[in-house]
């Protein structure tokens, strides 16, 4: 009964500083909102993230029709916005950052292509846009690699074509009357059974080349060696399975981060009570010392639980976050997280000589723990040693627990490990906290 009265008293004290309470609720939501605007998800849809990549194309010698088709194809893919321009302007655009990359087709590319001369395509990349420029490079590289593979096979099997086309007569061949005019003109000319030996030879070469290309295409369509790939990352599985709501990671991460500030502020209140003398008065009253510290632990945990509950409910309404497969899982995760957090920061309050020292200590710890414990960046993306260090913070286990429930929609009973660790941390630290508090009765229970 005495504990309940003290819990109610602490709750009232906490609510007296409503602005701090509002900040602790508003900031995670604000940051999650920014995440939504930046990366999409929830009611923001999936349109956010990397926008169409501005690409400059340089190739004045390409036929207009080919340029239009290339531009249309790239634009319609939704990944690129294309500008045909000259090399000087493309260079300036990339250097200014107006284009993430420029793809430069060399002069006379078509002639070089057909006469089997050396062709060098170039990609110019914007130094300030390494991600987008990298995407352009990757896509072009893949396309060119496919072509290179086909040509390597062709010229291995029919090297005489290269030798023949490499001759000076190759240009004359393609520029001969046989290929004058439009495609329709050339086709009609070749359809007629001309007696002209030059036409006959040209047709023969063309048909032979077509036959070889057809055989090559058919052979390349069969890939005896295949790579079966399985992606571990849930984000990588996104395309195959279902939409992953990034808020299921971001909101719990930011919520635990601000929960630590809120809980630390509650524990710091012990120092203010000692300064005001109210803590000493409580110890002189018939209330047991163990009740004082346990009541403080429970009341701060309850406040934390209330804060997380509000955040997750608002997140469910605004960002459509997943609240887990069953209410019990989320309840247990929230409860264990709050009890462990309060036990940790109570221990810090008990060992800190002054409020200011505790203030600095907790802020440093919160920032470092958040960084290495996966509150800002998913644990999967961190190096192994950072993750190993992160395991020493309770928030690491809280993040995994929320990730299991909210991101992977698993019941806590399926993976109770993180929950048990948090419960263990809470139990062990509270035993220590009680012992420390009792032995320091003369100093108001604090260091």
């Amino acid at each position: 009964m005495q504990i309940l009265v003290m819990i109610a008293k602490d709750f009232r004290r906490a609510l007296a500083d409503r602005r701090a309470f509002v900040v602790n609720l508003a900031l995670p939501l604000l940051l999650t909102f920014i995440m939504g605007l930046s990366f999409g998800g929830g009611f923001f849809g999936n349109s956010a993230g990397i926008s169409a990549i501005p690409v400059a194309l340089v190739g004045q010698d390409l036929p207009l029709m080919l340029r239009e088709q290339l531009a249309q194809g790239l634009t319609e893919s939704g990944f690129f916005t294309v500008t045909w321009t000259d090399s000087l302007e493309a260079d300036a655009m990339v250097r200014r950052g107006d284009a993430a990359a420029a793809v430069v087709f060399p002069p006379d590319i078509l002639e070089k292509f057909f006469t089997l001369e050396e062709v060098e395509l170039q990609i110019w990349k914007d130094p300030g846009s390494s991600l987008k420029a990298g995407i352009v490079e990757q896509i072009i590289t893949r396309g060119v690699a496919q072509y290179q593979a086909g040509e390597a096979v062709y010229l291995t099997l029919w090297p005489e074509d290269r030798a023949r086309e490499g001759e000076a007569s190759a240009r004359e061949f393609w520029e001969s009357e046989a290929f004058a005019g439009s495609f329709a003109d050339v086709w009609q000319r070749f359809r007629r059974d001309s007696e002209d030996p030059a036409f006959r030879e040209a047709r023969q070469r063309l048909l032979q080349g077509m036959d070889r290309q057809t055989a090559l295409t058919q052979a390349l369509q069969v890939s005896p060696i295949t790579l079966s790939v399985q992606d571990k990352s849930p984000l990588g599985e996104f395309e195959k399975k279902q939409e992953i709501n990034l808020f299921n990671f971001f909101l719990p991460g930011f919520s635990v981060f601000f929960l630590m500030f809120s809980v630390a502020a509650g524990c710091r209140d012990l120092h203010r009570e000692r300064k005001a003398g109210t803590l000493q008065r409580q110890m002189l009253s018939p209330v047991r010392r163990v009740d004082i510290i346990v009541a403080r632990w429970l009341s701060i945990s309850l406040q934390g639980g209330f804060m997380l509950a509000v955040l997750f409910l608002v997140g469910w309404v605004l960002f459509r976050i997943n609240l887990g497969p069953d209410p019990l899982s989320l309840f247990l995760a929230v409860t264990a997280c709050c009890l462990a957090a309060t036990a940790v920061f109570l221990a810090l309050a008990l060992i800190s000589p002054t409020e200011k020292i505790m203030d600095n200590l907790t802020t440093v710890l919160i920032l470092v723990w958040s960084m290495v414990g996966g509150n800002f960046i998913p644990l999967e993306q961190m190096p192994g040693w950072v993750v190993a260090v992160g395991r020493f913070g309770f928030n690491y286990w809280a993040n995994i627990s929320f990730q299991n429930v909210m991101l992977e929609n698993r019941s806590v009973l399926e993976a109770p490990g993180p929950l048990l660790v948090m419960a263990g941390v809470a139990a062990v630290l509270m035993i220590i906290n009680i012992l420390v508090f009792r032995t320091r009765a003369g100093r108001g229970g604090l260091a």
Partner: protein, 403 residues
Amino acid sequence: MNPSVIMALVRLRMLRVLRDRSNLVWLFVMPMAFSFLMGQMLGDWDPAGRDMRPLCLVYDLDGQAAADALVAPLLDNDKFRIVRRDTAVSEDRALELIEEQRITAALFIPADYTTRVARNEPVTLRLLYDSDRLSSQTVRTLLDEGLLKLNAKQAALQISRQPDNHGALPFESTRFDQRWNNPRVRLSSQTLGRLPDTGLKLTSSAQHVGPAYTIFFVMMFLMMSAKELVAEREDRTLSRLMVSRATSLDIVLGFFLGGMLIGLVQAAVLLGLNSLPIFGVDYGDSPAALILTVVLFAGACSAGSILLGTTARSGAQADGLGLAVTLTMAAVGGLWWPLEIVPPFMQTIGHSLPTGQAITIFHDMIGRGYGVAQLSGLLLGLAVWFVGALVLGTWRLRGLVSR
């Protein structure tokens, strides 16, 4: 205006900051720790010189020539290292290892791989990987390239063996390799910047992290110190100053210059530390642009701190608002992730904030080698924030001390 009073206020502010040793943690230790940690997480820094490359396990049950050829292109890579095992674990176990970050990918080569390749029979390799990791993606890209070559080779072999092979020569592996290694159509790429093709990755390495966390912590320290002004209001020390020979302008300038000096010292130390060989950040070719940027940003933050300190009603409120402003500006301004990956309207908002302007200036100085002239637009933006915050902060503070 009394310069001696202003200098005394500046000196007092500096002494108060430096005497509290915990401030040194916030000024210098935490920013460098964050830069280091973020650099580690993004995988670019290896200060100890140890082999930090993630592990790619190859479970090679074949162990013969074709498997050797498959693995060969993966052996010498700066993003991962290969370890071959002649036994295999279950796929579940391999996935666990990837989950636990102990390996970046696992490739399973079946026992009869070489035989099947020789017979041109279908064979499937199994790759378990993590698309969120660059090292893992690189493994996949290299394997795709290797398989493209193998399949092209098989295609050539198949055509040459067909009765109607359209006059194809018998397949020769050396001729194919020669064609493969010397393609007629080539692709070359270069970065058009100040440091072309040196692997500069502005948005994903120390080149971004160092300046970004310098900007972040300069802003954070000054915004969080706004509560000192609130405390001075509550303790009535502001009023006491007014009954001394200090004018309201002296007090405003004293507070502003004190904060700005702290920001400048902090930025100078952090930028200096980041330029050490261990971190290797260089700031381009224009010291003038660098100095101007730091001065304008520190000035804007100091003025913003005064504005916050005169607006907040309590120390706790100043703390909360300071944290909110700093975190929001950092997130939207592109200090935590590059602005190029967010939608255009978020880029516009980001570039209009002082954090976005400052980090873009750093990017342009480092990557493009821009000087004051090319950066004039962004510098002007910073100056607008500086002047705006200073005017508002001065108005609020003069209003308070004049009462």
